[in-house]
Amino acid sequence: MSVTVKIMERKGSSFLEKIYLFEIFKGMRVTLGHLWRNLCDNSRLYVRHYPEVKPEITPRWRGRHRLTTHEDGTVKCVACFMCQTNCPAKCIMIEAGERMDGKSEKVPVRFDIDLLECIYCGYCVEACPMDAIRMDTGIFSVTSYDRESVFVGIDELLATKGAFDEEEYKKGGA
């Protein structure tokens, strides 16, 4: 296998370029063009007016977590601790209890995620054998005035619905 060598032309050696001044003026012409364009019509700025105009979130986007449920509304999680073991940031804390409705042996009594610790890597979603935890809520801005409210428990995780329908999620994500 031969290596292809491409010799780039080295710029900046001619006299005019060495004076700098003309090259500087060229650059200034470019920036002034941008200023003038935006000054004449500021609707052409390449910006999203963020808090009012939200960005579009794709199903693959790893947002805030949620816990999924069976059809009858019971929690899918079986407290196998796979996600907690896998978590590189150690932000998931599960406490298991006995399950009485016969769907499995264990059920999480507590399922806390410290969102300040979470690095949104998605390993918990990949590790889950039951497809019980997902990051498809589309919530990308986790902000609050105190630490307690970003320490989410099982009730909040169960209450949040996914932002995409099942088919779209399957196509995009898993």
Partner: protein, 428 residues
């Protein structure tokens, strides 16, 4: 001291001291919005008072209030707290005082008395500017040294070495300029530039001394520590340079000092190279002689300018997303009313002038006002060039900076002196 004297002293002090201070706000605004538009962004456009954003100027007020109420930290590890407090004061004060000799209008003659239109009536001219800008180095050195911080010391080292070495090409460029003008008095320099070369080109310094203009402007950029020579505060390597340890109003003083220095050096560049307060082709005598036609022309131009500006504003001052009852459109409507009211006031004043006061003292006052406006517009444009260059060029490397200063600008300035002196001697 008659009442007139006191009034004119007040005017001088107002323009000499408050215009640089007001320009801080304008320049910070210009820097932010200009930077944003150069980079296809919007810039600060949210801060408002009852929905009035004044094109983003309100953001400056918010920042000012924030800086006033922030905790003022004096680092405990600093062994020389006196110098630590003194340094920002030196920087700000020097920047402000160096404006005192820049004439912002021609000498006003009222009732046989002459009133020199500059902050301090003193004919040291450009020497005063050189003397005072030299002092600003103390502030930088003391700030970096007394904060006892490696970034601070490195930033101060860079800044002071840069300022000291660029003062030399600056001074030499000035020498050739002074050879041409034959005076150090800035007002006389501006008078000189009111003449015409070959009868149709204004004898501006930039026409007579293009090389000196380039050298002086480059050195002025370096003196004010602005991009492309702002490695004193190169944030990627030195965090912020000599003012890392400063907070609250002490930091604000450095910040404001930087912008006042930018304003002052723009005004000096304008005065030396771009005709100062002179309106091109219209010297003071011409303006006084033709005060009536000029004011009639103004009466025609002011509404046209206002209409153009209003059209532009109504087109651009609106929200670019669905918003019921858009407050920005309402804001623009209020601005439009204010602008037209101002136009009406200006027209009324001009009509009053034409009917009752034309000829005599009012002509001269009108001319002085026109020249102040010209001076401010020109200085604003030069400040815009500062901003423009800042958002176009990347930062120099430190050795490149010193090479440019010592190996390019210094020999060029010396060469320029020789050529200029030879030409001046040959012509005289």
């Amino acid at each position: 001291m008659s009442q007139l004297d006191i009034l004119l002293v007040l005017l001088r002090v107002a323009v000499g001291a408050f215009v640089p201070l007001c320009f801080i706000a304008v320049l910070v605004w210009l820097e932010r919005r200009g930077a944003a538009f150069f980079q296809d962004r919007a810039g600060p456009n949210r801060a408002n008072i009852f929905g009035f954003r004044a094109a983003g100027l309100v953001q400056n007020a918010a920042d000012g209030i924030k800086l006033i109420f922030k905790e003022d930290v004096i680092p405990g590890h600093s062994a020389h707290k006196f110098y630590f407090v003194l340094a920002p004061l030196i920087v700000f004060f020097c920047a402000l005082v160096s404006f005192a000799v820049v004439p912002f209008a021609d000498t006003l003659v009222l009732e046989g008395k002459q009133y020199i239109m500059q902050g301090i009536p003193m004919d040291l001219g450009i020497l005063w500017f050189l003397a005072i800008t030299g002092f600003a180095v103390y502030g930088i050195i003391l700030a970096g040294w007394s904060s006892h911080n490696k970034y601070g010391v490195l930033g101060a080292l860079r800044a002071s070495a840069q300022v000291i070495s660029y003062e030399i090409p600056m001074g030499l460029a000035l020498v050739s300029l002074l050879v041409v003008y034959g005076t150090i008095n800035l007002n006389e320099i501006v008078h000189f530039q009111g003449k015409l070369l070959f009868g149709f080109i204004p004898m501006w310094g930039v026409v007579l001394q293009p090389l000196a203009a380039v050298i002086f402007i480059v050195s002025a950029f370096a003196e004010t520590n602005r991009t492309p020579f702002d490695l004193a505060e190169g944030e990627s390597e030195l965090v912020a340079g000599f003012h890392v340890e400063y907070s609250a109003m002490k930091f604000a003083l450095f910040f404001m000092g930087e912008y006042v220095a930018m304003f002052v050096s723009s005004s000096i560049i304008i005065t030396l190279f771009f005709g100062g307060y002179q309106i091109p082709w219209l010297s003071t005598e011409t303006l006084v002689a033709y005060a009536k036609p000029v004011s009639m022309l103004l009466m025609g131009l002011v509404p046209v300018a206002a209409a153009l500006f209003c059209g532009w504003m109504m087109k651009n001052n609106k929200s670019h997303y669905d918003r019921p009852n858009d407050p920005r459109v309402r804001e623009a409507k209020v601005y439009r009313i204010i602008i037209w009211m101002m136009v009406v006031v200006v027209e009324a004043v001009l009509v009053g002038y034409l009917l009752y006061a034309a000829g005599g003292a009012a002509d001269r006052i009108l001319v002085v006002l026109l020249q102040i406006v010209t001076f401010l517009v020109k200085t604003f444009m030069m400040c815009f060039v500062y901003v423009w260059v800042r958002w176009t060029l990347p930062r120099f490397r430190y050795d490149q900076l010193q090479l440019l200063g010592w190996k390019m600008l210094l020999p060029l300035a010396l060469l320029n002196i020789f050529i200029t002196s030879a030409v001046v001697v040959a012509l005289s």
